[in-house]
C-alpha cells in the first residue's frame, strides 16, 4: 500500500489549541499523547467542502492487542483503512512486519455484534462512516491476530 508520509489524524486538542477535532473525554487520559513522527498537520485540503470535514472514529482493541490510550480521533474522510492501520501501528509502536487488522462491527439494536467485516485497505473511512456510523461516530475494532473469520 501507498506510503503516506503525513497522517491527517488530528491529535486530541488541548484547550489552548482549540478548534475542531476531539479531546479525549475519558478521565484516565491526563495529557495528550506526544506527537509521533507521523503527526499531524491539517495537511493538504480537499477542494470540495464535503471531503474537508473530518469524521469521528472510535478505535477499540480486541483480542490480545494493546489498547490505545487515546481512542477517539478526528480523521479526514478520504483517509484509507490502510492509512489508519499504519497510524495505529506507529502509535502502538508495532514493528512493520506485525499484522494489524481492522474490522467494522455492526450495530444490532443497542450492542455491536462481534461478527463483522474487514474493509478493504483502500476503502475510505468517510464511506464507512456514511454507511456504518452511528451516534455521530464510526466504531472500528482492531486486532493483531485474525480474531474473526
Amino acid at each position: 500500500m501507498a506510503e503516506e508520509p503525513e497522517t491527517m489524524l488530528q491529535l486530541p486538542s488541548t484547550p489552548a489549541a482549540g478548534g475542531e477535532g476531539l479531546t479525549d473525554v475519558s478521565p484516565e487520559t491526563a495529557t495528550p499523547e506526544p506527537p509521533s513522527s507521523a503527526a499531524v498537520s491539517p495537511g493538504t485540503e480537499e477542494p470540495s467542502g464535503d471531503t474537508k470535514k473530518k469524521i469521528d472514529i472510535l478505535l477499540k482493541a480486541v483480542g490480545d492487542t494493546p489498547i490505545m490510550k487515546t481512542k477517539k480521533w478526528a480523521v479526514e474522510r478520504t483517509r484509507t483503512i490502510q492509512g489508519l492501520i499504519d497510524f495505529i501501528k506507529k502509535f502502538l509502536k508495532l514493528v512493520a512486519s506485525e499484522q494489524l487488522c481492522c474490522f467494522c462491527p455492526i450495530l444490532l439494536e443497542f450492542i455491536y455484534v462481534n461478527q463483522s467485516f474487514a474493509p478493504s485497505p483502500d476503502q475510505e473511512v468517510g464511506t464507512l462512516y456514511e454507511c456504518f456510523g452511528s451516534d455521530g461516530k464510526l466504531v472500528l475494532h482492531y486486532c493483531k491476530s485474525q480474531a474473526w473469520g
Binding site: 455492526i106 467485516f117 474493509p119 454507511c131 473469520g149
Partner: protein, 275 residues
C-alpha cells in the same frame, strides 16, 4: 417466457474475450506469444489467470519473476475489483478482444494491493459479502450461516459452479415478508473522471409511501451528474454487466438479479461515445 432466474445465469456466465501480452521490457529467454482467454465477468483477475502466469513464466528465468500484475493502456488493474467492472469502466468502448498487458516487475505499490495467495482473494470476497449483508440485513442472514455455507459460496465462485453458489446465495436475497425489500441496497458507483474510488451511501429500496425506488432515483440522489442533463442528450452511460438497464428499473430487482457474487451492484458511469 423468460424467467427472472435466467437473468441470474446470464450474469454468472458472462465472459470477456481477452488477449494477454507480456510487457515488452520483461526479460525473456524466448519470444512470448500472446495468450487468449475468456474471462468470467463476475470473478477476479488473480483467481482466473493461473494459466496466463504459467504461459509467460515458461519463457522467463526464475530470477526475473516476481508478483504478477496486469495493466490496460497504462492503468494498473485492481485485482480486488470484479473483472466485469474493470472492463465496463475502462475498456467497454474499445474493440474486442480486451488487450491486457502482463507484468512481473516494478509492482505499482501506490495503485494496487498485493495478492499473496488465493486465501487473500477469499478473505476479500467474504468481507465484501459480509459488508453487503450488513446493509441488507444488519448481518443477520450471513451470521446465521454456518462456516461450511460461507465456504460453499467461495468454492462456488472459485470453481464456476452456479448452482453450488446460488444454493446458499438465495438466502441472502430474501427479506422479511412484512418488508418490500432489503434494509439498504449494497451498491458502488464508479467513474474514471473523479478522484474518489467510488460512491457508496445508505439508500433504501422502498420509499416511505411504499413505492419502489428506481435506478434513476438512486442516481438522482447520489450521483446526479450520471444522468445529466435531464432535459436533453445525456452525457454518460450507466452500465452494469455490460448493459444499460432502464432507469425505471426498481433498485430492489436490480439488487436481487444484477448484483455481482459479492452481493454488490457495481455500477459504471462512462462518457457516452460520440461517433
Amino acid at each position: 417466457m423468460t424467467d427472472d432466474k435466467d437473468v441470474l445465469r446470464d450474469v454468472w456466465f458472462g465472459r470477456i474475450p481477452t488477449c494477454f501480452t507480456l510487457y515488452q521490457d520483461e526479460i525473456t529467454e524466448r519470444e512470448a506469444e500472446p495468450y487468449y482467454l475468456l474471462l468470467p465477468r463476475v470473478s477476479y483477475l488473480t483467481l482466473v489467470t493461473d494459466k496466463v502466469k504459467k504461459h509467460f513464466q515458461k519463457v522467463m528465468r526464475q530470477e526475473d519473476i516476481s508478483e504478477i500484475w496486469f495493466e490496460y493502456e497504462g492503468t494498473p488493474l485492481k485485482w480486488h475489483y470484479p473483472i466485469g467492472l474493470l472492463f465496463d469502466l475502462l475498456a467497454s468502448s474499445s474493440a474486442l478482444p480486451w488487450n491486457i498487458t502482463v507484468h512481473f516487475k516494478s509492482f505499482p505499490e501506490k495503485d494496487l494491493l498485493h495478492c499473496p495467495s488465493k486465501d487473500a482473494i477469499e478473505a476479500h470476497f467474504m468481507s465484501c459479502m459480509k459488508e453487503a449483508d450488513a446493509l441488507k440485513h444488519k448481518s443477520q442472514v450471513i451470521n446465521e450461516m454456518q462456516k461450511k455455507d460461507h465456504k460453499q459460496l467461495w468454492m462456488g465462485l472459485q470453481n464456476d459452479r452456479f448452482d453450488q453458489f446460488w444454493a446458499i446465495n438465495r438466502k441472502l436475497m430474501e427479506y422479511p415478508a412484512e418488508e418490500n425489500g432489503f434494509r439498504y441496497i449494497p451498491f458502488r458507483i464508479y467513474q474514471t473522471t473523479t478522484e474518489r474510488p467510488f460512491i457508496q451511501k445508505l439508500f433504501r429500496p422502498v420509499a416511505a409511501d411504499g413505492q419502489l425506488h428506481t435506478l434513476g432515483d438512486l442516481l438522482k440522489e447520489v450521483c446526479p451528474s450520471a444522468i445529466a442533463p435531464e432535459d436533453g442528450e445525456r452525457r454518460n452511460q450507466v452500465m452494469i454487466h455490460g448493459i444499460e438497464p432502464m432507469l425505471e428499473t426498481p433498485l430492489q430487482w436490480l439488487s436481487e438479479h444484477l448484483s455481482y457474487p459479492d452481493n454488490f451492484l457495481h455500477i459504471s458511469i462512462i462518457p457516452k461515445q460520440t461517433d
